[in-house]
Symmetry: C4
Subunit: 267 residues, 4 copies
């Protein structure tokens, strides 16, 4: 029994990636989650849903089955880790870890009896399955790497976001002051003008709100030219984060092929 539990634990463990079966399982789970999300997205298209309702139901049954079995097995085998050694307390502690909670919430709503419930509530519960997206974090290295880069550039991103909000408030207040009288419906208060500010500074520019007075256009153009640099910063910061992350990996084993010494140190 112990051996079996250990085998299953190793199977789930992402650090034992040398096993081919483990890698196939990881990829399979990613695909399953992807189709789950696709199902949630397509179910909201009423005409499509009503036609294939049965298939959606069977697919949901299958998915919840897989997720439930995986959850139980993980809970059962977690005692193999030193950290969660205790059969009861360790398992409880493990069940309260973020990734296990995400796993739990991704299939639990299915077991809640919804008979006689409000239709809108049922629909909201259905949407709740989008939560399964976060399960992807367990299997996808891509999302983990992005998360690492975001973490390493946390400070710069916070600075940028904070400055962006300050700029947004200043720009919107200015525009409110200028355009208030000519377009009271769209610029009648600072919160209203902030919709213009957000749409302009992100350069989305839907075209539902824009300055119409001469002064408003001059100031608006100035704000746009000066401000978009700040709102476009995050992309540049994250890109340089990727670049330095990669460089770090490469510099780790930079050894001269002739003499076997590190090329980054001087003799």
């Amino acid at each position: 029994m112990h051996k079996f539990r250990r085998a299953i634990f190793k199977f789930f463990d992402p650090t034992h990636t040398d096993s081919g079966a483990s890698r196939v399982f990881n990829f399979g789970m990613l695909v399953l989650i992807f189709f789950n999300i696709l199902a949630v997205v397509l179910e909201t298209e009423e005409s499509f849903y009503s036609r294939y309702r049965v298939y959606f139901y069977y697919f949901e049954l299958f998915s919840v089955g897989v997720f439930t079995v995986e959850y139980i097995l993980r809970l059962w085998t977690c005692t193999e880790q030193q950290k969660y050694k205790s059969p009861v307390l360790g398992r409880l502690q493990y069940a309260l870890s973020p990734s296990m909670l995400i796993d739990l919430f991704s299939f639990l709503p299915f077991y809640i009896p919804l008979g006689g419930m409000d239709l809108r509530f049922i629909r909201a519960v259905r949407l709740f399955r989008l939560f399964r997206l976060f399960k992807m974090g367990r299997y996808s290295q891509s999302l983990n790497k992005l998360a690492n880069v975001l973490k390493s550039k946390k400070e710069e991103l916070v600075i940028t976001l904070f400055s962006s909000v300050v700029l947004l408030i200043l720009a919107s207040s200015l525009m409110y002051f200028i355009e208030r009288e000519s377009q009271p419906e769209l610029f009648g208060s600072i919160p209203k003008a902030m919709w213009w500010g957000a749409v302009t500074l992100t350069t989305v520019g839907y075209g539902d709100v824009y300055p119409m007075t001469l002064l408003g256009r001059i100031i608006g153009a100035f704000i746009a030219v000066l401000g978009i640099g700040l709102f476009a910063l995050p992309a540049g910061i994250i890109a340089s984060g990727f670049a330095s992350e990669l460089q770090k990996q490469k510099l780790e084993q930079n050894i001269c092929p002739h003499c076997g010494q590190d090329i980054n140190t001087t003799p």
Copy 2:
């Protein structure tokens, strides 16, 4: 008395950040300023303001009280600094420093009697409180770091801005020449065409102005493809500024490979 003054001075001094109380105070001021800005923003929403007018008033009273006390204490303790040693002249000099003027203007308008004044003037004075945003510079390291990066990349940003203006004028003049006759209201003069130029080159593209003639569309597409690179430059420049700022911090303990001494110190 001297000891007390010195203690208060140290409390305000951002270089003595080892004190926990100092850090709590800094954070508290940031939060207070944030809610002040929120209040100014929400007050412009007439229906909301009229309902909670009393609370807005009490919050303003409290804020101005805190700001006034802080201002007086700062002015009183500034003589602890060698620079502003003289009790009268030193204090006057300190009061005229930019950050103290910002502090002063952030609460002074409250004490101006506005009874019998024009309502529009009162509203403008109310908006003036947005000025308190600039007080944030004193407590927020984020804004200071961004300011440092902008300063270090000043030259490139000036080059970019100057070139952008030159491009904007050229593009708008060209478009004015092409679209003048088919859309006299929107492209009837170069200043008018510059609204199109600003909206297009920043890629905001509201959709209120766009070329309609065949030639105008061809040239407009060319200008967009070639020009947006210039207007998007600031983001890239600032991002690389953040990257090199960080690198500089890391290189601080760089050692010369010839003599083994720190290259950043002078002998």
Copy 3:
């Protein structure tokens, strides 16, 4: 005969670029393909096409002739390569290589008899000539370099694209939930809301779809501010790819500081 075949083979071989005639031929083919594409583009303008129909036909005849002759010569001379030495099997193998298939498809449709065919089918076949664009890859170093950069940054680009899709689904689902009732036609299902999501997160912002409820605008602004960084990432990643590609070229004659040998060669 052998000598002649070898001469033609060398003429086509891009690694023997020292020959001036070879370079002229390469450039000439690029120009010919460019005018072919231009022809396909202009032919779709009905009024223009019907007027110059004859010239379009003669140009097509000439182009197909050149492409056919080039194809036959390449097939004939490929046996000069060790890899495709066998007269029959080697040639067959060569004919099935991607670039030769592209070459074949770029002129083959011309020889298919279309008399009595559906006009729409003929039009689709005409558009098929855009396929000749891919022939450019053979002669243009620019496209090859871009392809190299994209390959070297493949991992980051996949991460970004994957995260973008995840964000798009989350943002659109949220917006569907909020705006569903006020704009059922535009936000009536998640797939419909994804059109808003794509248009907003890429900052295109046509203005045909945008949130109208207060909550929708607040959440929409948040999504835009936070999300555009992710969608703008590829540009930053590719740009840094170009930068490091160039650096690599410069580092090609790098010498190990310990033993003085080139670090890029293996002993």
Copy 4:
């Protein structure tokens, strides 16, 4: 006379920037050109022009005077340079250099008698004064630095531009094929569809053209997500050009302050 000519030559010479008068002159010329451009821009605003017609005329007289005198002095003193030593042939050669031709064309149209000419022609001649913008290149270091960066990144920019055009053609052809029937006026030919392509891929998104069919929206979203990276590349490339330009300047004199040796070489 010779001494006087040499003094004037040195005054104009940008490499003798130690002279304060020279720097003042340079800055003055930049300001004069700026106001010239402003005049051209404002003159197109008919109501404004007709009111201040006289002032515009006097300013033009003054500017042309300054430009003419500068041109003559430059032509007279150019023989101080070894290159243009010959009094006649040297001066002719100098007069045909690009910057001297720009100078000439910036004031020559003023001397052309326009009496009895077509009003539209006169207007075009007036606009021609925008040409004076290019005179700025002589006095502005900003524009020169940008030009240097663009030159150093010429290859990457050409690659990007070329690939962008290829993508634009492919995307527009695809969209023409899909949307042709539902929106014949906007997508009725590939050149028409290219207006959509340019507006979308640059993320301007005016909103006058967008896909309306389901397939068109799906493909359009894909094109936007994948394509905007390419069109946003130039900004990233130019930004990294600025960064490496600056680094080059800094690395030129990187000497250890302790031992006086170059820190970039190994012992």
